[in-house]
Symmetry: D2
DNA sequence: TTTT
DNA sequence: TTTT
């Protein structure tokens, strides 16, 4: 049955990359999606949506995307439950990303120079070439 | 920023209709969306997604849709927090439905006769006329 | 970059199954999607959208889905051009289906009995089991 | 019935703003959406999708968005037919935009100074404030 | 050149 | 616990 999500927003933090016991990479982050309408106080709020990315794409995201980066995501909603430290069942709703597209030029500072001494900007120029990244 | 969801699934229960202090109608229900792939045990699981519907559409849903009904929903993901009885902050992720489309003919039994003695089927015949309902 | 479509509608005809020179199966059909709003004359119109399905899914669709069947589709918009008989360039916009979900029980009449003498209904009972079809 | 589209791409030209006989504003443009996969020759192609925007949003788009601008669009697919100069019926498939979100800082040059002598950048600074535009 |  |  149909289960589809499309989001455009900004990461609230640098994503965390982990590896499962079997070596599968996973990345988690929160996406802030600003609402288009304002609330009663005239403020524009945001929705904070938890995102999970798997495998190769998880590594790409962890490497090239940081706090404040703007991304477009498509995926599906997943509901999951787990037991917390107090042995209480907790229910989680999150988005499993199937595609992550890079929409701007904010990149992690640590990556600005690679192993050949090329700056990040040389490799991935900022003039609209964002879509040439390996996402 | 973009925040869109599209789902097709079945209600796990009859929806609950409530009215806010100011008279605004709200309906809540859980949608079971079967996954298209199977898990390691060869079973097909489902995601259980909380849906909120507002206003006139809430009343329509509460009236015509019941446990087991198949619906198509489009809307947006909303994150919300509240304080529970133990004064702990709880975080909720749910889908606010903007459109609810009726896809089958399972309707609430209690509605099969209206105040004029007409059966539900007379008013809303099942032969494909589902889309003529006021949704 | 993001390119996503989700549709629920009915086939205007039985789908046509073809095989490319290399053996790849393709199916084409038109989906009628009723609009939710009415036009100035109070009539509800429909959009007629051309759908292309590839590979195994094309064969499933051609086998189990017919004129009038209700389906949910997710996919992407594709633009294509070709030269017609008069050597004029024609531009086509269509939806390439990535998923096709079966939403009702209208099936092709010719398939109601299989090679073991079982009726189609025996194999695929209509009580909500539509999702067990191989789509 | 469900009919939803979400796109992220770049305008191939400056949009054209027209006004219908009754004064309703309409804007048309083509959106280039790069494909994520490459073709047999290892090239990444694009889909060129015709977009229609109505009313206030049409005026905003025509004013602030230009050739090369990156936008996120949500809307629906529309099929339409008309008679061309040769009295032949032509069929058109296009996307009617319901939301247009501004994703970058490429703006039309002509608008860089307003009637109070403020440059466009003063009014709409480029540092992430794109979402404060009246879209 | 259309579905229910 | 939140981004621009």
């Amino acid at each position: 049955m149909l289960n589809k999500v499309q989001l455009v927003g900004r990461l609230t933090k640098d994503p965390e990359l982990k590896y499962l016991g079997n070596g599968t990479p996973v990345t988690n982050f929160t996406l802030a999606v600003n609402r288009t309408f304002k609330n009663k106080n005239g403020e524009r709020e945001a929705d904070f949506i938890n995102i999970v990315v798997w495998r190769k794409q998880a590594e790409n995201v962890a490497q090239y995307v940081g706090k404040g980066s703007q991304v477009a995501i498509s995926g599906r909603i997943q509901s999951r439950s787990y037991e917390n430290a107090d042995e209480q069942r907790r229910y989680v709703t999150e988005v499993v990303a199937e595609e992550v597209h890079f929409l701007d030029s904010k990149r992690k500072k640590e990556n600005y120079t690679d192993e050949h001494g090329n700056s990040f900007q040389d490799l991935y120029p900022l003039d609209g070439g964002e879509d040439d990244l390996p996402f």
